[in-house]
Symmetry: C2
């Protein structure tokens, strides 16, 4: 069974058109809350929020919804419809499918679930039939059982609050929840997406086709993928090879253990397959495998906001002796090094840092950095050391509700933050050494405001930000390993 | 060299008196900001914030500081002084020591650093001399190079914003920074302390004496310890044995690797020793070893807010298919089990949960729980399953800036949260199964407000709260292992 036999019109070009629909209809929009019935409405509100220009609500029960005319059927829509989101129950799907074919739509996304993943043979057959009928008519299918498309450029979104701006990261996710989690959590760290596709049961558009698409997409520089199971191993291998040869690829595999494999089966009816096989494939093709959505976001941040370090030498800079002790251990755990700074560097640091209660060896534990000009000097001197390839600068805005460091800011914390980031930029320019920021998570509302503001200033100035030393060290180590494999 | 020879008056009873001083003088209080000079002021402000009744500022340069009379010397204070905090430079310390002896104080805490940990022989000698002079006069010494005492009952604190209320957790920390981090981060998760001692270079009061004290302290039910190095292995072993026999002991070791060991030496001049030896000691004596301050806070929360589960069977309950897949893997990774729920349980769940897009096997992925009465039913039914020993309920208030779940709350999120916690309490009472809450970290200010409010309601109702499934699973697994070792 080749792709060509089962999928008329599956040339990648067609996916590109599908990512840019001129109009979208949502079947099964309902005003009921809460529960699944509300999600059709969620799609509608998300599209309206991004300002998608031509969205149609379809539900025979309503005349109007959220100020929009509500159509009884897709066929009643006067203008052409490119893309249809199905939020109707599974039993109504066959009727919707015929309407879509008659209307001449290009693509259908089934948010509708309750097919193959239920474990029920009859529902699995229905899935095969429905998808076969659509693809046979040249219509591409996303899902079933997924959240579909987020393409900021096209003003398409599937959850509220997604950023309106595009960016260089492409993401395919077999889980809609993981897609949402990645988009939301990475957004606050400066990650913007070219396209995100939640593809669920992968009955038509699948991980291999999407990887091949992203490998060639000029708007995508980093590819992330959450995959539960792969149906055609050979095809997947080729797609992953193409993608990983073209750009950094970060892969997250669901279902590593027996319990996880069972959960995968319930979730998207996928066969999780062996993690060992998957892992060795990633190693061979130089794709970066990660173990959680958090780690995937970390790698997206690292590939987006830092150049690969020249070597494993890390300097840790910040205030706090206990914290420094852990940092040294954690850098070592990640497979990096935390070398003693050269004598000349220590001497230069000693001139601007009080010796008592600080260390200038590495980790550098000093409070001098709370004065922005000393921060610049400290980072520059360290960045110029010959055994340092990357600086890990750690700070916090929640340390104490009273915030010892914040107490030193004087009247205007925003100005202080700006100065701090400016000094970091100066130090990076002067020494040429990448600086990675570890910004410890806030503990209360006030520190959340300041942490969020500082984080944004950091990534806007091109600094990757991580919440802990181990997460930063892990990302740096993986980028370093990726760069070394690539150059050999 | 026995303890008695070097330490007159070191009976544990004296420590108890020292934890309850009637008056405190701070030598070296300064108005200078920022830098170390400001920290004497930090001690003063922290004591004033908790309302310590008799605090004296000492600095010959000032007449008055923060509205308090400032004394030129400890000897000028008219009333008796029990405890002295030294924030003066190391070179002034010998003079201060003589004043303290003449004044007849009971204890001195040296925040002052720059002694043995500098690696300078002369400064190491000075430390030995100073501490010997004081202990010889029957005066106990904390430090040097530490933050000293936090005893809420006595209104003593060393950083601003520490909770004013006492609680059942005792904590000794060789690092003041780690002590502060633990206090702040655990506070928002419902942890309150009996006493916290930051003991730095441990020249007099050390980890062994403190462990022995906490083993017998009726106000302490859980002991946490951050230790960089131990000087007398035999004495430490006995103290740890006594403590671990009496109550749960959570131990965090600094300096696991070569780089970490070097950082320990710079920090508190401690010999880090072998982690393997330390680890095997903890295993023998049933002390729970952890690897980070975060993990120590997790274990404090687990020992404080949950009874040990009867076995390893975990049910995961929450909304989100991808999240559930990871949860199953992560529970398994932690050495727990995520068993398939019994048929009868699945059937009962099926009656209150829509099947499409959910799973009732385990992990239980359902949005029915967003309606509080269904949450109670779901948790109760699962808690009654014979193969489930603990329920891991996961939720979030940041999922989307738009917050799909929050959209369902209607007008009053506070009321919704109250209902949710009430239903959780009902389910716990009805089924007798412990419930652990995983509350994903907030992404912005609005979700921080809601997350913080919900977290507080949870721990006030006796639920342990963790930010991720792996951290919750790890804490549960360690409590289970601890309970099993204890019962054999």
């Amino acid at each position: 069974m080749t792709t060509a036999e089962t999928k008329p019109g599956t040339a990648t070009a067609s996916l590109d058109a599908i990512f840019h629909p001129r109009s979208v209809a949502i079947a099964g929009v309902s005003m009921q809350q809460p529960g699944f019935a509300g999600v059709g409405l969620g799609f509608l509100l998300s599209l309206m929020e991004l300002g998608f220009p031509a969205v149609y609500a379809v539900n025979p029960k309503y005349q109007e919804i959220e100020g929009l005319k509500c159509y009884a059927s897709v066929l009643d829509i006067e203008l052409p419809v490119d893309h249809v989101i199905s939020s109707v129950p599974a039993r109504i799907v066959p009727r919707l499918v015929e309407d879509c074919i008659a209307k001449g739509v290009r693509s259908v996304h089934f948010f509708t679930a309750g097919f193959r993943e239920t474990g029920d043979d009859e529902m699995a057959d229905l899935e095969t039939q429905v998808v076969g009928r659509l693809t046979g008519a040249g219509i591409r299918v996303f899902g079933p059982n997924c959240m579909g498309l987020y393409v900021p450029e096209s003003k398409l979104a599937f959850m509220p609050g997604f950023p309106a701006e595009s960016g260089p990261v492409g993401f395919i996710s077999q889980s809609g929840g993981n897609a949402g989690e990645m988009i939301y959590t990475a957004a606050v760290r400066g990650i913007r997406f070219s396209k995100v596709v939640s593809y669920g049961n992968a009955s038509d558009v699948d991980e291999s086709e999407l990887l091949s698409y992203f490998a060639r997409d000029p708007k995508t520089n980093v590819i992330c993928a959450y995959i539960e199971g792969v149906k055609d191993g050979r095809r997947f291998r080729q797609a992953l090879r193409d993608a990983a040869a073209a750009k950094p690829v970060v892969v997250l595999k669901g279902g590593r253990t027996a319990a996880g494999t069972r959960a995968v089966m319930s979730h998207t009816a996928s066969l999780a397959g062996s993690l060992a096989v998957f892992d060795s494939l990633c190693r061979q093709l130089n794709a970066v495998r990660v173990n959680s959505v958090e780690e995937m976001a970390d790698l997206a941040v690292a590939f987006r906001y830092m150049s690969a370090p020249a070597g494993p030498g890390v300097a840790v800079v910040g205030g706090g002796g206990g914290f420094s002790v852990f940092a040294a251990d954690e850098i070592d755990d990640a497979g990096l090094q935390c070398p003693v700074l050269p004598e000349s560097t220590q001497k230069a640091l000693g001139e601007i840092n009080p010796v008592a209660g600080t260390s200038v060896r590495n980790p550098v534990d000093t409070i001098a950095i709370f004065e922005p000009p000393k921060l610049e000097q400290t980072l520059r001197i360290i960045g110029e050391a010959e055994n340092i390839d990357v600086i890990l600068y750690h700070t916090s805005f929640s340390w104490g509700r009273g915030r010892r460091s914040m107490a030193m800011l004087g009247a205007d914390p925003v100005h202080y933050m700006q100065m701090q980031v400016q000094q970091m930029v100066k130090a990076r320019e002067a020494s040429g050494t990448p600086i990675v920021v570890v910004l410890r998570p806030p503990l209360d509302v006030e520190s959340m405001e300041r942490t969020a503001a500082f984080q944004e200033k950091c990534w806007q100035a091109g600094f990757p930000v991580f919440p802990t030393i181990p997460r930063a060290a892990n990302a740096i180590a993986k980028v370093l390993r990726w760069a070394r494999s690539r150059s050999t």
